[in-house]
């Protein structure tokens, strides 16, 4: 097995996912198969090859730091699941 159930659980936790218990075995198997396939990359000689993260020749895009129109506050909050006085509401972070 290329990836164990425990590793899937660990990575799922890093990604803030609470994977359904019935799915864990299936995921471990499927992701394992994909990772085994991906191993063909190991056969490619890449010593000294510069990695690419962006396929078009373009360096940083700068512009003048001008004031521009942006979304109105109410509109920006219009899809918030919970809001109050122009703020997003989230469950308690620190337990008292």
């Amino acid at each position: 097995m290329k990836i164990t159930k425990q590793e899937v659980l660990h990575v799922a936790n890093l990604a803030r996912l609470d994977v359904d218990k019935v799915l864990i075995d299936k995921f471990a198997g499927q992701i394992g198969t994909i990772l085994e396939y991906v191993d063909i990359l190991k056969s490619v000689e890449t010593q000294g090859v510069t990695p690419t993260s962006h396929a078009i020749f373009l360096t940083n895009a700068f512009r003048e730091d001008d004031e521009k129109q942006s979304l109105d506050g109410d509109l920006a909050l219009s899809n918030a699941p919970e809001k109050e006085d122009g703020n997003f509401i989230v469950p308690k972070v620190i337990n008292s």
């Binding site: 799915l23 990359l41 396929a55």
Partner: protein
């Protein structure tokens, strides 16, 4: 001819001559949707009232002599481009009720033209898939055979064009998501050069690979839509400040001096269906017969491209999709009282299995101890794939290949076998890794009557050559004129 069967070009001519109104055209398309949507299932959201209101405005403009190429033309938009005030779901539970407060740049451009937005078309959830089966909200069927998939992820956009449920549409392509459904549905689909079309307001899947493009009934329409959506946008820092030619100027009958390249690795591809192989071979001969030269080329890292892609795309996705946390917009599990539990429950209930699978795969590839072996290695192989194309384009203008190894497969056939589904992207995803443009144009039918597409790829910003070759091929064939029986 029924009004809904019109191409953009023909509809534009009739609108201009005032032989039809946009309201008549839009009504005809809406009636067509009423008649066939129950079979095809192309749309997630329809807004006929809004469409007719837009058509009325278009008619007023036209009556005053103000007509642009897309004025009054009913269009479908893949449901991952933000439409102000119109629900944009990404075919996901997590965005099921999301109503964007702004328009994507491409949507703004269509609206500025006076185009009519009929609705939002179905897709694989967050554009992750090649069949539309990963949509959490809807099942789309192939108009040519309702037991088969329309392709994906822009399956709804392709099916809507093929079934005349819109006059043209927009899709997005991260690994073949415009070209493959175009091929499976018998329509024209173009993925432009990375940076050619603004991604502002496009919900991100893999930011270094995503690109918006048109799905249309023919190559002329493709050029017309490209003229509208292309160009630099200061709101997208990866859009390229490069002049946009008039793409309709490439619609001319002359292939002399053009050289087409045939990758030897592609013809030897495992699992290539004989009908697809024959159709593509015939297309290459036809294009040669029209005066183009032909050379064999080599893309030695073709097989590694699939592996590199399925590391890079999920890695970028895992990072992009971190924003869905139930705080700012989208679904939230309101039963959880602690923040961490809320995040996890929201995301697990909001994302479907394929999205969760890719987030886990991507997070794993980027995590400490595995980064070098997976993401780092794949990014180096990406460089080698780009080098392969550079070398190939030293001796040819465009590359010809199949779009997909088989015609559209049956619904349910591959849904539990992600790797096999991923491998079916072998001919298309290299273009995304290299950022080059590609087009799918109808080039035949299988023995079962399913459409087959020819892929043409070119250098960065050489969309004109794609349009030229595709147009010449289209003029010499009738595949694009055949319609599915619905």
């Amino acid at each position: 001819m029924k009004l809904y069967e019109l191409t953009i070009k023909k509809a534009h001519m009739l609108l201009k001559k005032k032989e039809i109104s946009s309201r008549e055209l839009t009504r005809a398309v809406l009636d067509r949707i009423d008649a066939v949507e129950k079979h095809v299932g192309a749309y997630i959201t329809l807004d006929s009232e809004m469409a007719l209101a837009q058509a009325k405005i278009a008619d007023k403009e036209i009556s005053q002599g103000n007509i642009l190429p897309l004025t009054g033309i009913p269009m479908a938009i893949k449901d991952l481009m933000c439409t102000k005030g119109l629900r944009t779901t990404c075919a996901s539970r997590i965005l099921e009720n999301f109503v964007p407060p702004y328009d994507a740049t491409v949507v703004k451009k269509l609206k500025t033209q006076g185009a009519v937005i009929v609705g939002k078309s179905n897709m694989d959830e967050f554009a992750m898939g090649s069949s539309n089966e990963h949509s959490a909200l809807k099942l789309t069927r192939n108009p040519w055979d309702l037991t088969r998939i329309p392709g994906g992820s822009s399956g709804g956009s392709a099916a809507a064009v093929a079934a005349d449920m819109c006059i043209g549409s927009l899709g997005s392509d991260t690994g073949g998501s415009i070209r493959q459904p175009a091929s499976h549905c018998g329509v024209v689909g173009m993925k432009p050069t990375y940076g050619r079309v603004s991604r502002f307001g496009l919900v991100a899947f893999a930011s270094s690979l995503d690109q918006i493009g048109p799905l249309t009934k023919d190559v002329t329409d493709c050029a017309m839509v490209m003229n509208v959506i292309s160009g630099y946008d200061s709101a997208d820092s990866t859009s390229v400040p490069e002049d946009v030619p008039d793409y309709t100027s490439f619609l001319e009958n002359d292939l002399k001096g053009m050289v087409v390249g045939i990758p030897k690795e592609y013809s030897a591809g495992k699992g290539l269906d004989p009908d697809v192989s024959d159709a593509v071979k015939n297309a290459v001969e036809k294009i040669q017969g029209m005066g183009a030269g032909c050379v064999e080329i080599s893309l030695p890292h073709t097989e590694h491209a699939v592996a590199a892609y399925y590391v890079i795309a999920p890695s970028e996705a895992s990072s992009n999709l971190a924003r869905y946390d139930g705080v700012k917009y989208g679904y939230r599990d309101k039963t959880k009282e602690n923040l961490m539990e809320m995040y996890k429950s929201t995301r697990s209930r909001g994302f479907g299995p394929e999205v969760q699978r890719r987030i886990i795969l991507g997070t794993y590839s980027l995590s400490a101890g595995y980064y070098d072996a997976y993401y780092g290695k794949a990014s180096q192989v990406r460089t080698l794939i780009i080098e392969d194309f550079k070398k190939a384009f030293e001796i040819c203008d465009v590359i010809l290949s199949p779009v997909a190894p088989t015609p559209a497969f049956k619904i349910g056939e591959m849904v539990d076998d992600p790797l096999t589904m991923y491998l079916s992207d072998i001919f298309t995803l290299s273009a995304n890794l290299a950022g080059i443009p590609g087009i799918s144009v109808p080039c035949g039918f299988s023995s079962k009557g399913l459409p087959i597409g020819l892929q043409i790829m070119a250098k960065h910003f050489d969309e004109g050559k794609l349009i030229k070759i595709a147009y010449n091929f289209e003029q010499a064939t009738n595949f694009h004129k055949k319609k599915p029986n619905l």
